[in-house]
């Protein structure tokens, strides 16, 4: 490689930092959506890099379904403290109590979809005009069509058929009052890029991503973590296994994979060999062929 070339991680990093600085420059009240998963962790890390030695100019926003892996909450609070970032939490339970959202019933019930209601009311409450997310285009087919700067109307809705053209690295964040933008600085990263970057920069991540012993059960071909509020169907059985999370979201819809990976190198080797996508274990995407698109149109992450 010649001297004036960046490797792909440096180039992706530069792109993400550029986009984050555009957000800080173009918007008045930007937020960074934080789920506690690895993508949002590297988002915080990138934001710290983009504005150093100044503090991250974004409020961290966590939409809490109440159905979490306990570890992610601890990790979230520590991370916010480490970077001196302001953290606000929107509770799905509050939306349910107020009657804005209705709890799903029965087996397979999840608060995943309800997060949209809480997310939009949190954006409205704090008057955020931009919300940075860790969504990646390689994750899912509707996400593959997403812009870096993605416009949301006054109802928080996405109109995938009528998106603004986005060329070069010129980002148009102009909007009317009441509208907002979702911004995806790591659009062009793949799962592999994320892990390589975590390894390269030695970024701390929750232990859930590494192998651990856990009570699990199998549903629709996917291993799910057993939790008190999850109902078992007939024939489903809880067993103990060595597993790790490939993604971390709401516990009711996050699959775990059998794994003995104890280091980042192990994880990278595992991903290189795997034949199933990262979201292959996400029950929320399996509800229909266009499940993600439908949720995104309503204002989902």
């Amino acid at each position: 490689m010649t001297k004036y070339n960046l490797n792909h991680l440096k180039e992706l990093e530069a792109e993400a930092i550029y986009v984050m600085r555009e957000v800080a420059a173009q918007f008045e009240r930007p937020a960074l959506l934080f789920s506690g998963g690895k993508d949002s962790i590297i988002m915080v890390h990138l934001a710290a890099k983009a504005f150093y030695p100044a503090k991250i100019p974004f409020t961290l926003v966590h939409i809490d379904t109440g159905h979490n892996f306990e570890e992610t909450l601890t990790f979230r609070d520590e991370l916010a403290e480490k970077y001196g970032a302001k953290l606000v939490v929107g509770y799905v339970q509050e939306s349910i109590d107020k009657g804005d959202a209705v709890e799903e019933k029965g087996v397979g019930a999840s608060r995943n979809v309800l997060q949209t209601v809480t997310l939009l009311s949190t954006i409205e409450k704090y008057k955020f005009d931009a919300a940075l997310g860790g969504g990646r285009r390689d994750e899912e087919k509707a996400r593959a069509k997403e812009r870096f700067f993605s416009h949301r109307d006054e109802f928080g809705q996405w109109d995938p058929k009528n998106q603004r053209p986005e060329l070069w690295s010129i980002y148009n964040g102009k909007k009317n009052i009441g509208e907002h933008f979702r911004v995806f600085p790591i659009s062009n990263w793949t799962e592999m890029d994320v892990w390589q970057y975590i390894l390269q920069d030695n970024i701390p991540i929750p232990d859930l991503y590494f192998t651990h012993r856990r009570k699990v059960f199998k549903r629709d071909g996917v291993w799910l973590a057993a939790a008190p509020f999850m109902q078992l169907k007939d024939g489903e059985e809880i067993i103990e296994m060595d597993v790790r999370c490939r993604t971390i979201g709401d516990i009711t819809c996050t699959g775990v994979v059998e794994s003995r990976a104890t280091t980042l190198e192990d994880i990278i080797r595992e991903i290189a060999a795997t034949r199933v996508t990262e979201r292959g274990g996400r029950a929320d995407d399996k509800r229909s062929e266009a499940a993600m698109e439908d949720r995104k149109k309503e204002g989902y992450f």
């Binding site: 550029y18 150093y52 996400r143």
Partner: protein, 424 residues
């Protein structure tokens, strides 16, 4: 992907390419082939499109469903919008901007082309160079994609004939001579059968060139960014105002061209003040030099008033500064561009307003003829346009620098991006 060792990534380069062609040219099949042969399609994705294919009554797995992500696209069987796909080999990571090839979707092709290092132009070996080939090639050169690879596809249907291939190459070269094509390669392939895509074809011994994958992995992209003319559009001013960094004042941005070194004499536009570079910061470390497309923070030795939209350049190498700009404009919106129309304009990190002063001609993208005396530019049309801006821009020609030579127009009523311009 199984060749990845966990540390091998340090030598990987990023290559962005765009594919121009319609479904009939076998574009989706080709992308499917590249993804499949490089093992970038996962089992659950394959299962999902298999299910979807069956639901649509198709008895073969339709690889187009991999890229057609939106409900409307699946229902209508057409691609509406640019889709991005990713795959990697041990040498490079690839980003494909997959753009629809229909006439009405010039705007999508332009979008996908704007960031690409390489354009794949698909030609059906049965039909040879057709109007659509002209259009795709014209747009690829207008957007200054540095490398073109002409994939002459469906060679299996022409008995892998060298004569067919030679004739198409000759036709293409004759036409390309009229355009500013920098680097063009040809590969005879069969995306369906896999000839010369990833693996060398046994059916075309006469072809001595590289396979498509070999080209994608090895084409030299190190010179695609401008490393000659130092340009640093200031994006954001970093002032921590903390005790520890009380006097810190850094100019954050991404290098748009050239190389900046610590100690370099620089000039700030528009003020014209000069200073020297005190430090180039990358997070917590100071680095000696920075080049495109690095995102860094520059500190200067003198206190000068600098804000977003200003540009730091070398003292002996300045961009053009003017309020009168001529561009090749591609119109992206249903409401046509009108003479004397006023728009918001974004160029690098600078926001100004502009008025359309003139439309010299429109380009007929199928014949490349110039059509004069036009009053408006409609969606998907391309023309040479004169703009007058409210404040000066600091720019280079698009040929010289894609970052400092590009701009977008925004409708001030709807806030939509309505036009994109390449500065002449």
């Amino acid at each position: 992907m199984s060749d990845f060792s966990s540390r091998a990534y340090l030598d990987m380069q990023l290559l962005r390419f765009t594919t121009a062609g319609s479904v009939d040219d076998g574009k989706s099949t080709l992308i499917g082939r590249l993804l499949y042969d490089s093992k970038a399609i996962f089992q659950d994705q394959l299962d999902a499109i298999e299910q979807a294919s069956i639901k649509r009554g198709s008895d073969v797995v339709d690889l187009a469903l991999l890229t057609d992500g939106l409900r409307a696209e699946r229902e209508q069987g057409i691609t509406i919008d640019v889709a991005y796909r990713y795959f990697a080999t041990p040498k490079r990571k690839f980003i494909i901007a997959d753009t629809p090839g229909h006439v009405q979707y010039t705007r999508n092709m332009v979008t996908g082309a704007s960031t690409a290092n390489v354009a794949l132009i698909l030609v059906d070996a049965r039909h040879g160079v057709i109007e659509q080939t002209y259009r795709h090639t014209y747009i690829a050169t207008l957007l200054q994609i540095p490398h073109l690879i002409v994939c002459i596809n469906k060679m299996d249907l022409m008995e892998y004939s060298q004569e067919v291939y030679d004739n198409i190459q000759k036709d293409f070269e004759a036409f390309a001579a009229k355009l500013n094509v920098k680097d063009v390669r040809f590969v005879p392939i069969s995306a369906l059968k896999g000839d010369n895509v990833v693996n060398k074809s046994e059916n075309m011994d006469w072809f001595k060139g590289s396979t498509l994958m070999h080209l994608l992995e090895n084409i030299h992209i190190g010179s695609d960014y401008n490393h000659k003319d130092p340009r640093f559009p200031v994006q954001y001013v970093i002032r921590p105002q903390t005790e520890e960094f009380h006097d810190y004042r850094g100019y954050a941005g991404r290098i748009a061209g050239g190389i900046f070194k610590k100690g370099d004499e620089v000039k700030v536009l528009p003020s014209g003040f000069t200073s020297t570079i005190k430090a180039i910061d990358e997070y917590k470390s100071e680095i000696d030099e920075a080049y495109a497309p690095m995102a860094v923070t520059i500190r200067l030795n003198d206190e000068i008033d600098i804000s977003r939209g200003d540009m730091i350049v070398a003292v002996d190498n300045e961009p053009q500064t003017s309020q009168d700009i001529e561009v090749m404009m591609c119109w992206m919106n249903e409401r046509p561009m009108k003479l004397k129309g006023k728009y918001a304009l974004k160029h690098t990190t600078r926001d100004v307003r502009c008025m359309i002063q003139g439309l010299d001609y429109k380009v007929d993208v199928n014949t490349l003829n110039k059509v004069k005396e036009q009053e408006e530019l409609k969606m998907n049309e391309i023309g040479r346009v004169k703009l007058r801006t409210t404040k000066p821009l600091f720019f280079d020609s698009y040929n010289k620098n894609r970052q400092t030579g590009s701009l977008i127009l925004i409708d001030e009523g709807t806030n939509e991006t309505v036009g994109v311009g390449m500065i002449i």
